[in-house]
C-alpha cells in the first residue's frame, strides 16, 4: 500500500471509529436531559426570610399579598374583632412578649380562664400542627377560627355574633377599601372567610430568625454568642441533655412544614409534668392528645413548641405551670416533676406514659447557667419591636 493510501485509510478509520463510538459505544450511557429551570410559583409578598429559613407553605386558596397582610395586621390589633368589642388578638398575643401574654393561662374577652397558656405566634407559619395538642389543626386559617368562635372557654366570642361584628367593618369606609384591595376577586369582600384569610396572612409573616443563635449558625457571625452561651449550645445539642431530640431545626421546635418538604408526622410528648392518680393521669381538661384520641397512651402528650424567644415567653408548658428557665432546666434534669401537695399531687417522673426521651440528666450549676445563657441567645430583639408587626 502506498503511504498516501495508508494515510487516507487511517482518516476513514477515524471517521468510522468516531461514528461507531457515537452509535455503539455511547448507547450504554443514559441520555442526559437538560432540565430547564422551572419557574416556581411563589407568594407575591416578599417575606424577607432570614438565612436558613425556607419558604413557608401558603395555601393556594389564600395567597399572600401586601394588601392582605396589611388588612390582617389591622384586624389583629382591632378590638372590634371580638363579640363585646373589648378584646383583640393582640390582647393575648403581645409583640413585646413574642406574641404571648406572660400568663400561665389565657383569659378571654368575657373574663373566662382558658385551661392553657397562650402559644407564641413566632414562626407559627412553619408549625406542623397548631395549638397545644390537636393533630388535625394544620393551617393558620383553621387555627384562627378557634379563638374566634370557641364557646368553652369564650375567647374572642364571635360565635352567634358574626354579622354584628362584620357590620362594624362594613360600616367603616377604610375597612371596606382594605377588604376590597385584599380580596378584589371576591364579589362580597367583607366576610368572615376574608377576616380569617387576612389574619392568617399576617400571622404567616411573623417570622423570627435574627437571634444571636441564628446569626451564628446562619449568618456566620462567629462572635454572636458569648463563651458561656456557646458552651450552653454544646450542652443543648449534647446527647446527655437531649434537648435537640424534641427541639430541633431552624427554629428549635418539633416537626415543621415548608415549601418542598416531604409530608411529616406531627409528634406530641408527655414530659412527666403530672401523674395525679399513679396511673399517668393529667388534670381534667388538660390531658393533651388524649382528649382527641381517647387512647390511654396519649395521656399528657403535648406539642413541643419553638424555643425562639423562649426567654421572653415565660411561664412555660401547656398550663404555664413552670415559671422560669431555671425551673424548666431543673424539671428536665429531674426527668419530670414531683408535685407534693394539692389536687394535682403525684410523681410525674414515674408517669407510665412519659416519653422515653425524658430521661433526666446530671448538670452542674455552672453548666445550668451556660444553658440558660444559650436559651437567652434565642431572643430576637428585632422581632419584638419590628414596626411591621406592631399595631398600625
Amino acid at each position: 500500500m502506498r503511504p498516501g493510501g495508508q494515510s487516507r485509510l487511517c482518516g476513514l478509520a477515524g471517521v468510522l471509529i468516531a461514528a461507531s463510538c457515537t452509535v455503539l459505544g455511547c448507547a450504554k450511557a443514559a441520555p442526559i436531559r437538560l432540565v430547564e429551570k422551572q419557574a416556581v410559583a411563589g407568594p407575591v409578598f416578599d417575606l424577607r426570610l432570614p438565612p436558613g429559613f425556607p419558604a413557608p407553605l401558603v395555601p393556594a386558596d389564600n395567597p399572600l399579598s401586601a394588601a392582605k397582610v396589611r388588612l390582617g395586621r389591622r384586624l389583629f390589633y382591632d378590638r372590634a374583632l371580638s363579640g363585646n368589642g373589648t378584646f383583640s388578638c393582640a390582647s393575648c398575643h403581645r409583640q413585646e412578649l413574642a406574641f404571648t401574654d406572660g400568663r400561665a393561662q389565657a383569659v378571654g374577652s368575657t373574663g373566662e380562664l382558658h385551661p392553657r397558656s397562650t402559644m407564641s405566634l413566632a414562626n407559627a407559619a412553619y408549625d406542623a400542627t397548631l395549638t397545644w395538642a390537636d393533630p388535625e389543626l394544620r393551617t393558620l386559617e383553621d387555627q384562627a377560627r378557634v379563638p374566634m368562635f370557641n364557646r368553652h372557654p369564650v375567647e374572642l366570642g364571635l360565635a352567634d355574633r358574626e354579622e354584628q361584628v362584620l357590620e362594624r367593618f362594613r360600616s367603616d369606609p377604610d375597612y371596606v377599601r382594605m377588604f376590597r384591595a385584599a380580596f378584589d376577586a371576591e364579589p362580597v369582600p367583607v366576610t368572615m372567610d376574608s377576616v380569617v384569610g387576612a389574619l392568617a396572612s399576617f400571622v404567616r409573616t411573623l417570622i423570627s430568625g435574627d437571634s444571636p443563635y441564628h446569626r451564628l449558625v446562619y449568618r456566620g457571625e462567629m462572635d454572636a454568642l458569648s463563651e458561656s452561651a456557646r458552651r450552653g449550645m454544646r450542652l443543648f445539642f449534647s446527647e446527655r441533655l437531649g434537648c435537640a431530640n424534641c427541639h430541633a431545626g431552624f427554629m428549635l421546635s418539633g416537626p415543621v412544614v415548608f415549601e418542598g418538604a416531604a409530608e411529616i408526622e406531627p409528634t406530641f410528648h408527655n414530659t412527666g409534668l403530672y401523674d395525679i392518680d399513679g396511673k399517668g393521669a393529667y388534670p381534667p381538661g388538660n390531658r393533651g392528645l388524649y382528649e382527641r384520641t381517647g387512647r390511654p397512651e396519649d395521656m399528657g402528650r403535648f406539642r413541643a413548641p419553638t424555643l425562639s424567644n423562649v426567654a421572653i415567653t415565660a411561664p412555660y408548658m401547656h398550663d404555664g405551670s413552670i415559671e422560669s428557665l431555671e425551673e424548666l432546666v431543673d424539671f428536665y434534669a429531674a426527668g419530670g416533676r414531683l408535685v407534693e401537695t394539692g389536687p394535682w399531687a403525684g410523681d410525674g417522673r414515674r408517669n407510665p406514659y412519659k416519653s422515653d426521651l425524658i430521661r433526666g440528666f446530671e448538670i452542674a450549676d455552672g453548666e445550668e447557667a451556660d444553658l440558660i445563657r444559650f436559651l437567652e441567645s434565642l431572643t430576637d430583639p428585632g422581632f419584638l419591636t419590628n414596626p411591621s408587626f406592631s399595631a398600625p
Binding site: 471509529i17 418538604a261 409530608e263
Partner: protein
C-alpha cells in the same frame, strides 16, 4: 500488504459494515437525543443543550478516569492524568459552544467553570461561575464550585462567605465545601509557606467550629425524616 496494515484494513472494513447496521438497528441502541454531531439542530437553544449534554458526558468520562487513577499504580497514574486533562479540555470546548449558542444557560457556565477549575485555570473558572450566578443567583452547585476555585487561589475569606451562603439553603453543597476546606487545610498544614501560618491556623479554627455547628444542626432535608 504488511500484517499490521491488513489488520487495520480489516478493522476499518468491520466498522464500515457495523456502523450502518447499528444506525439501522433503530432507537434501541441510539440514545436520546438521537441526532449525530454532524446533524446538530439549528435552533441555538437546542444546539446549546446538545453541546452541554456532550460536555457532561465528557466530564463524566473524566470522573470515571479520576476514579481509576485514584486506585491506579504509580506507573499508571501519569498516563491517566493526561487522559483526564484531555477529557476536561474537550468538555470545556463543548460548554463553551453551549454558552455561545445560549448565553442564558447557567448550567453550562457552571460546568464550564468546573472544567476550568479542574485544569487549574482558577481565574477563568471564577469568571464562568460569576456568569452562572448572575443568571441564577441561587444555583447552589455553582456557589460551591466557585468557592473551591477561591480555595484554589487561597482566597479563604470568600470561600467562607460562600459556605455560610450555602449552609442555610443547601447543606449538601455546604458539606462538600467543608470537606474541600479540610483538604485545603491538610495540604497547607503539611506544606506551609504558601499562605501565612497564622491565617491557616485561624482558618483551621473556623472550620473546626463550623464542623461542630453543622453536626449539631439538622439540615432542611433531614427534618422531615427525623425521628422526634
Amino acid at each position: 500488504m504488511p500484517k499490521h496494515a491488513r489488520a487495520f484494513a480489516a478493522l476499518v472494513l468491520a466498522l464500515a459494515v457495523a456502523s450502518p447496521l447499528a444506525l439501522a438497528a433503530g432507537s434501541r441502541s441510539i440514545p436520546e437525543p438521537s441526532q449525530p454531531r454532524e446533524e446538530a439542530p439549528r435552533d441555538p437553544i437546542a444546539e446549546a443543550a446538545q453541546h452541554y449534554n456532550w460536555g457532561i458526558k465528557l466530564r463524566n468520562k473524566a470522573w470515571a478516569l479520576e476514579e481509576k487513577a485514584a486506585n491506579a499504580s504509580e506507573e499508571q497514574r501519569p498516563k491517566l492524568e493526561v487522559k483526564i486533562k484531555k477529557q476536561y479540555k474537550k468538555a470545556i470546548r463543548e460548554f463553551q459552544y453551549a454558552v455561545e449558542k445560549n448565553p442564558d444557560l447557567h448550567q453550562a457556565f457552571g460546568s464550564l467553570g468546573y472544567g476550568l477549575r479542574k485544569l487549574g485555570r482558577h481565574e477563568e473558572a471564577l469568571e464562568a461561575y460569576d456568569q452562572a450566578l448572575a443568571l441564577a443567583s441561587d444555583y447552589a452547585e455553582a456557589i460551591e464550585y466557585r468557592a473551591e476555585a477561591y480555595l484554589g487561589l487561597n482566597r479563604v475569606d470568600e470561600a467562607k462567605d460562600a459556605y455560610i451562603q450555602l449552609f442555610g439553603r443547601s447543606r449538601k453543597e455546604a458539606d462538600k465545601l467543608l470537606e474541600a476546606m479540610k483538604a485545603w487545610l491538610e495540604r497547607h498544614q503539611q506544606a506551609p509557606g504558601e499562605v501565612d501560618d497564622s491565617a491557616v491556623e485561624a482558618f483551621a479554627g473556623w472550620v473546626e467550629e463550623r464542623s461542630e455547628i453543622a453536626g449539631q444542626t439538622a439540615s432542611l432535608s433531614d427534618l422531615p425524616l427525623r425521628k422526634w
